[in-house]
């Protein structure tokens, strides 16, 4: 095996309130592989466990049982500090709301993960953030505070931030759920473009079937189980 899989889940279960009478299992044994460069949609009704699964994959939470590998590293074997480091380098996040720190400018928000990792700002960091800001088309907004940007612009900044550590996998939780159709299309196009250019894998949680249809693979989660997992032929007309 030349290159480890970006993501591998084996029999992942997650229960809340373990040890109490109210213990409920949310995920009932998930097996999943994501290869490098895959652009995958995760769909399913509310309460099906999508967000729980995303938190586990994003190393924000630990599974009750099962094994989880990111870029070949088994998460269960890491302590909290190592988990934070792995999360910082291997996974990028784009959330639906409250993505950015309002006290910082667009470019500073993009820099933050790198700054946290290195401890002090430097010129290389500034350059990399600036080029990512340019890549998401916000150069003229780079110096504006996050709160002064529109919702679509904020999501673009969040995407740039998710990419600054050059992660193997970007997790996006309803990245366009808060946007009007036009901005949503723009943000989605940007995700696809980054995916094509950098080979970064994407896992996108969405309620929007229109967006899911524009992904290479669609995984449907129902009641904590994978109900379907199928490749999807993207019609090239819709892609641009």
């Amino acid at each position: 095996m030349a290159e480890p899989q970006t993501l591998r889940l084996e029999g992942i279960r997650k229960a809340y309130g373990v040890g109490t009478k109210a213990a409920t299992e949310v995920l009932h044994g998930i097996d999943l592989d994501i290869q490098r460069g895959e652009f995958t949609a995760l769909i399913g009704p509310s309460g099906s466990g999508k967000s729980t699964l995303l938190n586990l994959i994003g190393l924000l939470d630990r599974p009750t049982s099962g094994r989880l590998f990111i870029t070949g590293v088994e998460a269960a074997k890491l302590d909290d500090a190592a988990l934070t480091r792995l999360r910082a380098t291997a996974v990028g996040f784009v959330f639906q709301f409250h993505n950015l720190l309002p006290a910082f400018t667009a470019q500073e928000n993009v820099m933050l993960p790198l700054l946290a990792a290195r401890g002090r700002p430097d010129a290389v960091m500034q350059e990399r953030a600036a080029s990512l800001i340019a890549a998401v088309g916000l150069t003229q907004w780079a110096g504006h505070l996050a709160n002064d940007l529109s919702g679509g612009q904020q999501q673009r900044v969040a995407i740039a931030r998710a990419l600054i550590m050059q992660p193997a996998l970007v997790l996006a939780d309803e990245p366009t759920g808060n946007l009007d159709t036009q901005s949503a299309d723009g943000v989605f196009d940007l995700l696809r473009q980054v995916n094509r250019d950098s080979g970064t894998s994407f896992l996108i949680v969405t309620h929007d079937p229109r967006l899911a249809q524009r992904c290479d693979r669609i995984i449907e989660l129902v009641d904590g189980k994978i109900a379907s997992d199928r490749p999807n032929k993207v019609e090239s007309a819709k892609e641009t």
Binding site: L60, H98, A116, A117, P121, D122
Partner: protein
């Protein structure tokens, strides 16, 4: 972003600037507390050193006397005591045995500043038909004037007396009608007498002392009191007045003499000083506690307000340690800034107070002791208190579950 600042500093300053109102309020709160501490401390230490000076200006810190004479019982045979009633002996005036040797020994001690032999006893001053009972103190000017600030109390003449000179108080001079250069007869109970010239008049600000004390040369007192070459006490000052009792005990152990420090001789005054220090400490403690609670509550609120941002930071690779330091830093910075503002304000209060609180004659009512170290300690203390106050909120922030925090 300032490239010189580490990550936590950048975040801390941004967070504090973001909640500027809260930050300013709590800095004002800390400043108020620190200014109260600075003001009260300066006032109390000024008051204390003033009292302290007034007490120690007029008495030596350690006084060494010959041991008391004890009436010994007759020897005991078996269980029978021959003398069943023992009367304490009347203490006659005696010299400290071998005082010159003791003096040399004391002068070699590093803790000792100055040693002065004294011959003190009772006498009468006579002028014409008038006579007054006085306490005569025979001194060696070169050592005694370094021990007691006598020169500073002189209103006429000089404290540097010769063997035919006498120093008297203002009240005694008035009641006898004598002034500088006039002659007096000093007589003792054993009818020894000397005719002396008034070479100086002092005012200790105490009527009793001014009326009953006279100073003569050591030799004059020795001959009048029939103690040739003797000294009824040896008095000394030490480098650290508050260590006087420790030094006194070590001298007592070495010489077997009766050694007493000003701390024992002025037990009441000393306990008053300690009570003051204690009240000062209590004020500091509670003001510090109040400031700490203020900082802690602001940070607790801030952690709640910023929980989503903390979640984002955690999700994008900020470690628990970094979050912890971020909030500790905010506490420290608020404490430190508050103490700087508070020190300045406390200083301004002191200046204003010095201008307002005056005696009728225009001299300041309170002597305010101004110790620059007080500001340094206030700043360090407030920074420490701020950091400690931030421990609980910082731990809360560091423990936040990023998944929960982001969902909100």
């Amino acid at each position: 972003m300032n490239p010189l600042l580490p990550f936590e500093w950048i975040l801390a300053t941004r967070f504090m600037r973001e909640g500027l109102m809260q930050t300013l309020l709590i800095i004002s709160g800390v400043a108020l507390g620190v200014s109260v501490i600075v003001f009260i401390s300066a006032l109390i230490s000024g008051l204390q050193s003033n009292l302290f000076r007034r007490t120690l200006d007029y008495q030596a810190q350690i006084v060494i006397r010959p041991p008391e004479e004890i009436a010994r019982t007759l020897h005991t045979e078996g269980d029978v005591d021959w003398a069943t009633l023992v009367q304490p002996r009347a203490q006659r005036l005696r010299s400290v045995d071998q005082w010159q040797t003791v003096r040399k020994l004391l002068e070699k001690m590093p803790e000792v500043v100055v040693v002065a032999p004294v011959v003190a006893g009772a006498g009468f001053v006579l002028r014409g038909n008038a006579d007054k009972a006085v306490n005569m103190t025979g001194i060696e000017p070169e050592s005694y004037l370094r021990l007691i600030a006598l020169q500073a109390q002189m209103v006429a003449g000089s404290a540097e007396l010769g063997s035919d000179d006498i120093l008297i108080g203002t009240e005694l001079g008035n009641s006898l009608g004598v002034g500088l250069g006039d002659k007096l007869i000093l007589q003792t109970a054993s009818k020894a007498s000397a005719t002396l010239t008034v070479s100086g008049i002092f005012d200790f600000g105490n009527k009793g002392i001014n009326e009953r004390s006279v100073y003569v040369a050591l030799r004059t007192a020795q001959s009048l009191l029939n103690l040739p070459g003797g000294a009824t006490s040896i008095e000394l000052n030490v480098v650290k007045p508050f260590d006087a009792e420790i030094v006194a005990q070590s001298i007592s152990a070495q010489t077997g003499l009766d050694v007493q420090s000003w701390i024992v001789l002025n037990a009441q005054f000393f306990s008053a000083l300690q009570a003051q220090s204690m009240s000062n400490f209590i004020i500091r403690f509670f003001v510090g506690l109040t400031a700490a609670l203020g900082i802690a509550s602001v940070l607790v609120v801030s952690v709640v307000q910023k929980s989503k941002e903390i979640g984002i930071l955690r999700a994008t690779g900020t470690t628990r340690g970094q979050i912890l330091r971020l909030f500790l830093l905010q506490g420290a910075v608020m404490g430190c800034l508050g103490s700087l503002v508070g020190s300045a304000a406390g200083w301004a209060f002191l200046m204003a107070w010095r201008g307002i609180a005056k005696n009728a004659n225009g001299t300041p009512l309170f002597v305010i002791e101004f110790d620059p170290m007080l500001f340094l300690w206030a700043a360090l203390g407030a920074t420490l208190v701020g950091t400690l106050a931030a421990v609980f909120p910082a731990r809360t922030a560091a423990k936040l579950d990023p998944a929960v925090a982001i969902r909100g």
